[in-house]
Amino acid sequence: MKCRRFELDVADWVAGRLSPPQAAEMVVHEQQCARCHGVAESERQLQASMAAMPAASLRRDLWPELAVRLEQNAPKPVRRRWPILSRLLLTGGVAAALGLLVARVALKPAGSKLARVQDEERVVLQMTQLEPVQYVEADVAAFAAYQGHELQRVVLMGDTGSER
């Protein structure tokens, strides 16, 4: 056995964690090597001190305080699934409602546009049948009246109106 191996295993050996054959090898090496004997002694002291270290113990059961904190702060893991599910349902519902609205709007113009065009055609038809005659007659009468007035103005005032 080499010193390096001894140093790696010395803690396990002193703690009784080695198998009997391994422990026997350690004993032999310790007897032959003064330096490793010192290492083993030091390890024995260390483990004795460690064993004498005070063991701290809890003075109370932590569950009551933990239960309060869970109530106050921590979300329950299982409830995380529900918000996701409810969010999905909500999103689906909103999407469905929007879809219906869009479909309704998309379908409605086809009918109403046709009706609007038919109405417009009817109005145009009425206008071309009735109004042109009335309009033309009224216009001719108004124009004749205007011409009459102009003639009278020229005769009375000798004014052609071109200077204005």
Partner: protein
């Protein structure tokens, strides 16, 4: 209505750690309550060794269970539940250590006992023995405090929690060979600190 409730409580008490963690993942607090009952003492003891403070250790222990509760549904069941709890504890202790840096110096429980025994006037020889033991312990605690967080974790797990290599490798994620080497080095550094303290060269 009462009978099934009592029966399930018995089941919870007899359930394995893994079954308890599954209950936690399903939001059943009885799972966590039983885990707390099983592990609070040893986790507190472990964290007390790492933090050196009763209050810090208690708070850290509460935090271990809170984190376990929050992340229970994501546990993969590849490691043992106990190991997983220790891993959480190590992470919390590291966070605490990096936040505080300067570690608190509390009197250790037995230090108080020694002071009390001296105060009541026990035999001189016993008092001297107690003082020597107390001094050795102080040196050890001071030496542990001077180590890095990772060195201290390894030594506490090995010597004070008496965990075997398999458990420590599971908690730390180190391979067996690396763990043995690091433990040997941590031990050397600890001894060096103790020797310096004994020689009175350490401030």
């Amino acid at each position: 209505m009462e009978r099934p409730r009592e029966a399930s409580r018995t089941e919870v008490a007899n359930a394995s750690d893994e079954e308890l963690l599954r209950l936690c993942g399903e939001g059943d607090r009885r799972g966590l309550e039983e885990l707390v009952r099983r592990y609070q003492s040893q986790l507190f003891s472990f964290l007390y060794r790492l933090t050196g403070s009763y209050e810090d250790a208690e708070e850290a222990t509460l935090e271990v269970f809170l984190r376990a509760w929050r992340t229970a549904s994501g546990f993969q069941y590849r490691a043992r539940v106990a190991t997983w709890l220790y891993r959480i504890a190590v992470n919390i202790a590291r966070d605490l250590y990096s936040r505080k840096k300067a570690r608190p110096q509390e009197p250790w429980p037995e230090d108080e006992d020694v002071a009390a025994s001296l105060a009541v006037g026990s035999a001189e020889e016993e008092a001297l023995d107690a003082l020597t033991r107390d001094e050795t312990r102080r040196q050890l605690v001071a030496a542990l405090d001077k180590l890095s967080a990772s060195d201290r974790e390894l030594l506490v797990m090995y010597y004070l929690q008496q965990m075997d290599y398999d458990e420590i490798t599971e908690v730390t994620g180190l391979s067996y060979t690396v763990l043995k080497t690091r433990l040997a080095r941590a031990r050397q550094r600890l001894r060096r600190h103790i020797e310096r303290a004994q020689a009175g060269t350490e401030r």
